[in-house]
C-alpha cells in the first residue's frame, strides 16, 4: 500500500491549543500537532521578546543576519504555529488569557513546576474558567516528589533518567547522546499525552491535568535493563558494561561499529543468525571462520566477540563505508554506514523519496528546509508550509477574531505593552 493521494483534510483542525511551550521538549510536541492541523497559539513574553525560549534568535542563521526573528532552531521547532505576545505581569493580560482559555481545548506548558500557579492560572483556577479544560504540563521532574523544584534541560534529563549511562563503551566515561534526545522524546510523549487526554475527553466529557515528568518518561525507556536488575538482581553497572554498540537484548555477535577507509568513516554491522554469520564469512572470504565449528553458534561467537571484532575491523578498514554497506546488504547482512548530516539529508534516496526535509516559508528568513514528519496518512497527511511565527504575528487574529476585542481595545493593549 502506497500513499500517493494529495489530501487536504486535517485530522486535528477542530482542536485549539493555548500553548506556552518552548525550547524543544515542549515546542516539539505542539509542532507535530500543528502539522496535523491543530490551531496552536504559541504565547511568548512581550516584555523580554520571547526569551522564555532560549532558542529564539539563537544560531544557526541562514545568512549573515542575526536577530530575534532569525533563529534557525526556533524556526524548526515552531513550524505552522500562530504567534501571540503577552506580558503576563499586567492585569489586562490575565483577562486576555482567561478569554483564550475559554475558547481553547488544551493548555500546554513546559516551564519549571509552578510558573502558571504564580500567574494565578493553576489548574484549579483554569477549571473555574473552563471546567473541562485539558492542562498538560511537562517539567523536568513533574509537579510532585522531592525533586519537583529541580530544573533540567535535555542532557540533565538524560543523565538522571539512566539514558546517559546506557550510552557508552566499557572502561570509558558515559558517551551520552550528543544531543537532547529527551527534548525530542519528551516532546513526543507530551504530544501523545495531549492526544490521549483529548481522546479521553471526547469519550467521557472529562477534562484533566496530565502531569508529565520528563525524567519519568526517560526512565520508562530502559525496560529490559531495569527488569534484569529488579528480577534477576543484575545491575547494568558491572564489568564490561555498558557497551551500547554490542547487543544485549538479544545478544548478538558480531555487532558493532567498525572503522572504514577515510576520515571518520564507519560502518555498523549486526549478525542476527548463523546464516548471516556464514554470509558474512563468505563476503569476507574468511575460510578459517567458515570452517571453525565453535563460531557456528551465537554462544561461540559471543565468547570470541573481541577477536571477531578485531578481524572485522582490519577488513572493513580497506573499504568505503557506503560501498561496503551495499555489498553486505546484497548478502542479506544488516549493515549501514554511520551517515553524516550531508549523507542522510542530501545523498539518501529513501529520504529524498519520502520528501523528509520540506521547505517552510518564514516571514523574515525566507525559504528554509526543516525537519519533516516521518508519518504518512492516507486521509489526513501532515502538512508543513509556514515557518515559525514572528513575535506577536497573530495578535490581531487572536484578539479580534477569536476573543472578540475591538480594534480600539487591541490598539490600547499594544500601547500599554500588554501585547
Amino acid at each position: 500500500m502506497t500513499i500517493s493521494s494529495i489530501n487536504q483534510k486535517k485530522a486535528l483542525s477542530h482542536i485549539r491549543i493555548c500553548d506556552f511551550t518552548g525550547q524543544l521538549a515542549g515546542a516539539g510536541a505542539t509542532r507535530v500537532l500543528a502539522a496535523f492541523g491543530a490551531e496552536v497559539i504559541r504565547i511568548e513574553d512581550r516584555l523580554t521578546e520571547g526569551s522564555w525560549d532560549i532558542l529564539r534568535g539563537q544560531a544557526p542563521y541562514v545568512d549573515d543576519r542575526v536577530g530575534n526573528e532569525l533563529g534557525g532552531a526556533f524556526n524548526n521547532h515552531n513550524i505552522g504555529k500562530l504567534g501571540m505576545s503577552l506580558n503576563m505581569r499586567l492585569p489586562n493580560a490575565k483577562e486576555i488569557l482567561t478569554r483564550l482559555i475559554k475558547v481553547s481545548d488544551v493548555v500546554t506548558e513546559n516551564f519549571s513546576a509552578g510558573v502558571l500557579d504564580r500567574w494565578g492560572f493553576s489548574y484549579e483556577e483554569m477549571k473555574k474558567i473552563k471546567p473541562d479544560i485539558i492542562y498538560i504540563s511537562n517539567s523536568g521532574f513533574g509537579h510532585s516528589g522531592p525533586y519537583s523544584n529541580f530544573k533540567t534541560w535535555g542532557p540533565i534529563v538524560q543523565a538522571v533518567s539512566g539514558l546517559t549511562f546506557q550510552s557508552g563503551l566499557p572502561e570509558m566515561p558515559p558517551a551520552g547522546w550528543g544531543f537532547s534526545y529527551m527534548d525530542h522524546t519528551g516532546g513526543y510523549f507530551m504530544a501523545i499525552a495531549i492526544l490521549l487526554a483529548i481522546y479521553h475527553k471526547k469519550i467521557t466529557g472529562e477534562g484533566q491535568w496530565v502531569d508529565m515528568s520528563c525524567t519519568d518518561a526517560g526512565a520508562s525507556l530502559n525496560g529490559p535493563v531495569i527488569l534484569d536488575y529488579t528480577v534477576n538482581g543484575r545491575p547494568l553497572k558491572r564489568e564490561g558494561s555498558p557497551n551500547s554498540n554490542r547487543s544485549q537484548h538479544p545478544i548478538m555477535s558480531p555487532h558493532g561499529i567498525y572503522k572504514c577507509q577515510g576520515e571518520d568513516n564507519w560502518i555498523a554491522i549486526s549478525v542476527r543468525s548463523d546464516q548471516e554469520w556464514h554470509n558474512l564469512c563468505s563476503v569476507m572470504k574468511n575460510d578459517e571462520w567458515l570452517s571453525n565449528r565453535s563460531l557456528d553458534s551465537k554462544e561461540g561467537r559471543v565468547d570470541s566477540a573481541d577477536q571477531i571484532d578485531d578481524v572485522i575491523e582490519s577488513w572493513t578498514k580497506g573499504f568505503n563505508a557506503r560501498e561496503l554497506m551495499d555489498v553486505l546488504q546484497a548478502a542479506g547482512i544488516p549493515s549501514a554506514k554511520v551517515q553524516t548530516p550531508p549523507d542522510r539529508v542530501d545523498q539518501d534516496e529513501n529520504t529524498a523519496a519520502w520528501e523528509l526535509f520540506p521547505i517552510a516559508e518564514h516571514e523574515e528568513m525566507g525559504k528554509v528546509r526543516v525537519d519533516g514528519v516521518p508519518i504518512k496518512m492516507s486521509q489526513t497527511p501532515p502538512v508543513i508550509e509556514k515557518g515559525a511565527p514572528l513575535l506577536g504575528q497573530h495578535n490581531k487574529y487572536v484578539l479580534e477574531e477569536l476573543l472578540g476585542y475591538t480594534s480600539e481595545e487591541v490598539k490600547n493593549f499594544e500601547s500599554e505593552g500588554v501585547v
Binding site: 541562514v62 510532585s144 540533565i156 544531543f179 490521549l196 487526554a197 481522546y199 527488569l227 549501514a336
Partner: protein
C-alpha cells in the same frame, strides 16, 4: 459521564498487533493506557520470546524479560497466519477491531491477504498503522536492519561518542531506534482515532523509522539544513559545530555529575563563585569576575574559555570530595541545573521516582511473585496508565478470544488446535 480514574483512556479500544519487536513498544503504550491489544503470535511464539535477559538466566518461552517488558497488558493469541484458516481468523478479529498495528516487513501481510486494502473490506473504518524501517515501497525497503544499523544510518550515532574520533561513534543504548519509531506510530494512531471520531473514516498510516531517526537528531539536522554546518561528536555533551568544554565530572564511586553549562545567568554565575569559595576550592579568581555570556562562548572567546576552565576545575575538586547524589541535590537546591548520571538501577532506588509512583509492582501470580517494573511516562488524573496484567503466556488468551469473542465452537477450536492453525 463516569468517573474514570481507574479505567485507562483507551479502555474501549480494540487493537490487533501483528509483527516483530519493531512495533512492540507502540502496542505497550496503547495497552498500558487501557486498550485491549491482542498480539497475534506464531505457534512457536514471537521471536522476542527468545531474547535475553531471561528470568534467572533460564532460556524458556515464558522467561524473556524483554518479552515481559514490551508486552504488559497484551493478550496472546497464537495463529498461523500463513494458513487459509488462520487468515480468516485474523480477518474476523479485525472486523471487530479499531486498530491494526503491523511491524512486519512491508508487503508481507499483503501477500497473505491481510494488508490494508484487503482488511478494509472487512472493516471500512479500520485504522491500519504500519511501522517499518524505511516506509512502505521505498527505495531501501528491502534492506536488512537492526536497531544498531538503523541508528547509525538515520543520524543519531553520528552525534554520539567521544572527543577522540579514533573511537567509534556510539549507539545510544536501549533499542531507542525502535522506540522512536513507535512514538511516531502512537502519535499517528491517536491522531487517526481523533479524526475517526469526527468523520467516521479509518485510514492507512505509514511510519518510517529511518525518517523518525533523521528528525530525532536536534542540531545535527537543523545546523545542516539552515546553513550547511556539520556537528562533531564530543564526550558526554552535545555534538557541536565548534568544540566546547567538557561537562561530565567524575566523583567518588565512578559516578559522574553532569553540569552542562554550569551557570546560565549572571546571578547564577556569582552564586556559583560564592559557593566554590565557600567550599574553599576556588584558587584565585583574579580578574575573572564577569559571567561568560552565550555570545562570547559561541564565538570561542579565549578569556571566556579560560574562565570556564577555572570554574570547572574548582567544581571537579569539590565533586571529588562529596557524595555525588548529595552534591546533585545541593546544586539543584542552590538553583543550578545540574544532573547526576544515574544507572537505570539507581533510578529504581531513587526516592523521587518512588515518591512519584514511577516504580510499580506487577503480580506474577503463577510464580507467586511480584516484581518491580518501570512505570508511567505521564501521570493522568483520569483514564490512567496502569499495568493490569503481566505479559501473556504463549497462547494464553486463545480460548477467551477465539471462543469468547469470535464464537468459535469448542469443537472447531479443538480441530484448529489439532491442525496446527492455532
Amino acid at each position: 459521564m463516569t468517573n474514570s480514574e481507574n479505567i485507562g483512556a483507551l479502555n474501549n479500544l480494540r487493537v490487533i498487533e501483528l509483527g516483530t519487536e519493531l512495533g512492540a513498544w507502540c502496542g505497550k503504550l496503547l495497552a498500558d493506557m487501557g486498550a485491549n491489544v491482542i498480539k497475534i503470535e506464531p505457534l512457536s511464539g514471537d521471536k522476542s520470546r527468545t531474547y535475553e535477559p531471561f528470568y534467572q538466566d533460564v532460556n524458556d518461552t515464558e522467561n524473556s524479560l524483554f518479552w515481559w517488558h514490551y508486552n504488559t497488558n497484551k493478550q496472546s493469541v497464537t495463529i498461523d497466519i500463513e494458513t487459509d484458516h488462520g487468515q480468516k481468523l485474523v480477518q474476523e478479529l479485525v472486523a471487530q477491531s479499531d486498530v491494526v498495528l503491523d511491524s512486519y516487513t512491508p508487503g508481507y501481510l499483503d501477500s497473505l491477504g491481510l494488508g490494508y486494502e484487503q482488511l478494509k473490506t472487512q472493516n471500512d473504518s479500520i485504522i491500519f498503522a504500519a511501522v517499518s524501517f524505511f516506509g512502505q515501497n521505498m527505495p531501501y525497503s528491502s534492506y536488512q536492519m537492526t536497531d544498531l544499523t538503523a541508528v547509525a544510518f538515520g543520524g543519531p550515532a553520528w552525534s554520539c561518542g567521544y572527543d577522540d574520533h579514533s573511537i567509534p561513534p556510539v549507539r545510544g543504548g536501549g533499542n531507542q531506534g525502535y522506540q522512536t519509531a513507535c512514538h511516531f506510530a502512537m502519535i499517528a494512531i491517536m491522531t487517526a482515532l481523533l479524526y475517526r471520531l469526527e468523520s467516521g473514516e479509518g485510514q492507512f498510516i505509514d511510519v518510517n523509522m529511518h525518517a523518525a531517526l533523521n528528525v530525532t537528531t536536534e542540531g545535527s539536522s537543523y545546523n545542516y539544513l539552515v546553513n550547511g554546518g556539520i556537528v562533531q561528536r564530543q564526550t558526554g555533551r552535545h555534538a557541536g559545530i565548534r568544540p566546547s568544554a567538557g561537562t561530565q565530572i567524575p566523583g567518588p564511586g565512578g559516578r559522574y555529575l553532569q553540569v552542562g553549562f554550569p551557570a546560565r545567568t549572571e546571578e547564577q554565575w556569582f552564586s556559583l563563585l560564592a559557593w566554590l569559595e565557600e567550599e574553599g576550592v576556588l584558587d584565585d579568581i583574579g580578574d575573572y569576575l564577569s559571567p561568560p555570556s552565550r555570545q562570547s562562548l559561541a564565538a570561542g572567546d579565549e578569556k571566556t574559555q579560560e574562565q570556564l576552565h577555572l570554574v570547572m576545575n574548582a567544581i571537579s575538586k569539590m565533586a571529588a570530595e562529596k557524595d555525588p547524589v548529595e552534591l546533585f541535590r545541593e546544586a539543584q537546591n542552590r538553583g543550578f541545573q545540574w544532573g547526576i548520571v544515574n544507572t537505570p538501577e539507581d533510578v529504581m532506588e531513587d526516592p523521587h521516582f518512588n515518591a512519584r509512583g514511577f516504580v510499580v509492582s506487577v503480580d506474577h501470580p503463577e510464580m507467586d511473585s511480584t516484581f518491580r517494573y518501570p512505570g508511567a511516562p505521564y501521570k493522568f488524573e483520569k483514564g490512567q496508565w496502569s499495568i493490569r496484567r503481566r505479559a501473556p503466556f504463549l497462547g494464553e488468551d486463545n480460548k477467551s478470544v477465539l471462543v469468547g469473542r469470535l464464537n468459535l465452537s469448542e469443537s472447531d477450536f479443538k480441530r484448529l488446535s489439532e491442525e496446527g492453525v492455532i
